[in-house]
Amino acid sequence: MAYSEKVIDHYSNPKNVGTLDKAKKNVGTGLVGAPECGDVMRLQIEVDETGLITDAKFKTFGCGSAIASSSLATEWLKGKTVDQAVQIDNMDLVEELNLPPVKIHCSVLAEDAIKAAINDYRKKNGLEELVFEEKGVH
């Protein structure tokens, strides 16, 4: 299976690889997936007092599509408000990266990671955690 150019580009030059201080109150961390399944994503957001995501970082254990999905997700997160970030849909990632059907689960994982990071941030700041529908494309 050949990868799309966009996947190759994100894999070769991943954006926003790194770690934010998870102890900080305005940093939300989402860790999703499992080593046994072959992919684990950690996605972090840093939010300012107006609710704007000022920084996003990721680290991913997984295939090229998983790395590309999380790299692209961090790019999209930066500059969005938390409320806008909730709207990011895995199919947007699929479309942008041209992921084949067998790799859709990578985009689902990235969406899960975004939501997990947002909920972590909300929890830390005394907000109720959001309940999301299961995507079920695992």
Partner: protein, 405 residues
């Protein structure tokens, strides 16, 4: 000059040796006869070429030419041996013993046997990938008719103890079949010294053409017969009907002859290159060789690089290096390698494995390039891996509750 891309997937298939192609070419056009045409020179030429190839194949494995049944490849050989024995010896019993790390062509044939009322015991392997001989002997029952254990494994290159297995089989009057696809032409195989009764192998794993292989069927001590699985003209002593693939057989014969003459030198050279590759890659932290390093084909290395995923890893260099991974992501099933799991590896290590299969045309320059490319990519991906970061911080990954999906 370094030639790219580098092919290190020789367990999947090998390039054909140009000398093999040269031997084959006249049999497509000039000498196109049907080896079964008994009444004219076109047929005689073809038959003569097939007879010669049969000698070349037999010589490589220490067999009599009459014991070679040409097939379309090892999958057909596996099917013909297992189903053929199961049907031929139905009056003696219906139990077959095999092991969990066999090729799918053997495992799925055994599943077929089970569905048709037969009984199959699947032996486990130890962490080195080897079966336990005591377990094998204990599994033999009065209705056991066949032991089917591969010579060398396709994923990890581990060589099973053929002589010891055949002694047990002999002692109990059970036939011994071996899928020797990965071993033939790579290490010395002798059906008499090894005590093998039936053996499947194929041309394209030993620098011969695809679509042609052989099943060795012992004729003496004991005389073995298999029930044909295809009805037709009764070719190949009635065991395998179908017009013989003369050019393919000629090429297969030539490949066997070259292997017989060059195997020792190839194995020595490739063993050194493999060790160089393996030793260099084992310098990386948290790298593990899968399977026995002692009982192993000289040209194969299977290594797990913990905390990076195999497919992601291959993507770092697959423009220039071709190899395989036990990672789920390379298969349609999304399940990691059942062979690596049978060794007791966790799914995480199975996902992190690469299989290096060197071959006759692998050069030292290519190995040096591969060492650097793989090492660089492992390091780069570990910088990107949350698991690596956690490992470095001393987090016990086994204690984390992962969301299994």
């Amino acid at each position: 000059m370094l030639k790219l891309p580098i092919y290190l997937d020789n367990n999947a298939t090998t390039p054909m040796d140009p000398r093999v192609l040269e031997a084959m070419l006249p049999y497509f056009t000039e000498h196109f006869g049907n080896a079964a045409s008994r009444n004219h020179s076109f047929g005689w030429e073809a038959e003569e070429a097939v007879d010669y190839a049969r000698e070349q194949v037999a010589a490589l494995i220490g067999a009599d030419p009459k014991e070679i049944i040409f097939t379309s490849g090892a999958t057909e050989g596996d099917n013909l041996a297992i189903k053929g024995v199961y049907e031929m010896y139905a009056s003696k019993g219906n139990h077959i013993i095999t092991c969990t790390t066999e090729h799918k062509a053997v495992l799925d044939t055994c599943k077929h046997i089970e569905r048709s009322g037969g009984e199959v015991t699947y032996l486990n392997v130890n962490a080195e990938g080897l079966i336990d001989l005591k377990e094998l002997e204990a599994a033999i029952k009065p209705n056991t008719i066949l032991i089917a254990i591969m010579y060398a494994n396709n994923e990890i290159g581990v060589i099973q103890p053929m002589k010891e297995i055949s002694q047990i089989a002999r002692k109990h009057g059970v036939l011994f079949f071996s899928d020797a696809t990965q071993a033939i032409g790579k290490i010395p195989v002798d059906v008499n010294k090894d005590g093998i009764d039936l053996m499947a192998f194929t041309g394209h794993k030993m620098y011969g053409p695809k679509g042609v292989g052989a099943l060795y069927v012992r004729r003496k001590n004991p005389r073995v017969k298999v029930t044909a699985q295809m009805d037709g003209g009764g070719h190949e002593r009635g065991m395998r009907s179908g017009t013989l693939n003369v050019p393919g057989i000629v090429g297969f014969g030539k490949a066997c002859e070259l292997a017989r003459l060059e195997m020792a030198a190839d194995a020595e050279r490739l063993g050194k290159l493999r060790d160089k590759l393996e030793n260099a890659l084992m310098q990386l932290e948290e790298a593990y060789v899968n399977g026995s390093r002692e009982h192993r084909l000289p040209h194969v290395a299977n290594i797990s690089f913990k905390y990076v995923e195999g497919e992601g890893l291959m993507m770092g260099f697959n423009k220039n290096i071709a190899l395989s991974s036990g990672s789920a992501c390379t298969s349609a099933s999304l399940e990691p390698s059942y062979v690596l799991k049978a060794l007791g590896l966790g799914d995480d290590l199975a996902h992190s494995s690469l299989r290096f299969g060197l071959g006759r045309f692998t050069t030292e320059e290519q190995i040096d390039y591969t060492i650097k490319a793989v090492s660089d990519t492992v390091l780069k991906l570990r910088e990107m891996s949350p698991l690596w970061e956690m490992f470095k911080e001393g987090v016990d990954l086994d204690k984390i509750e992962w969301a299994h999906h």
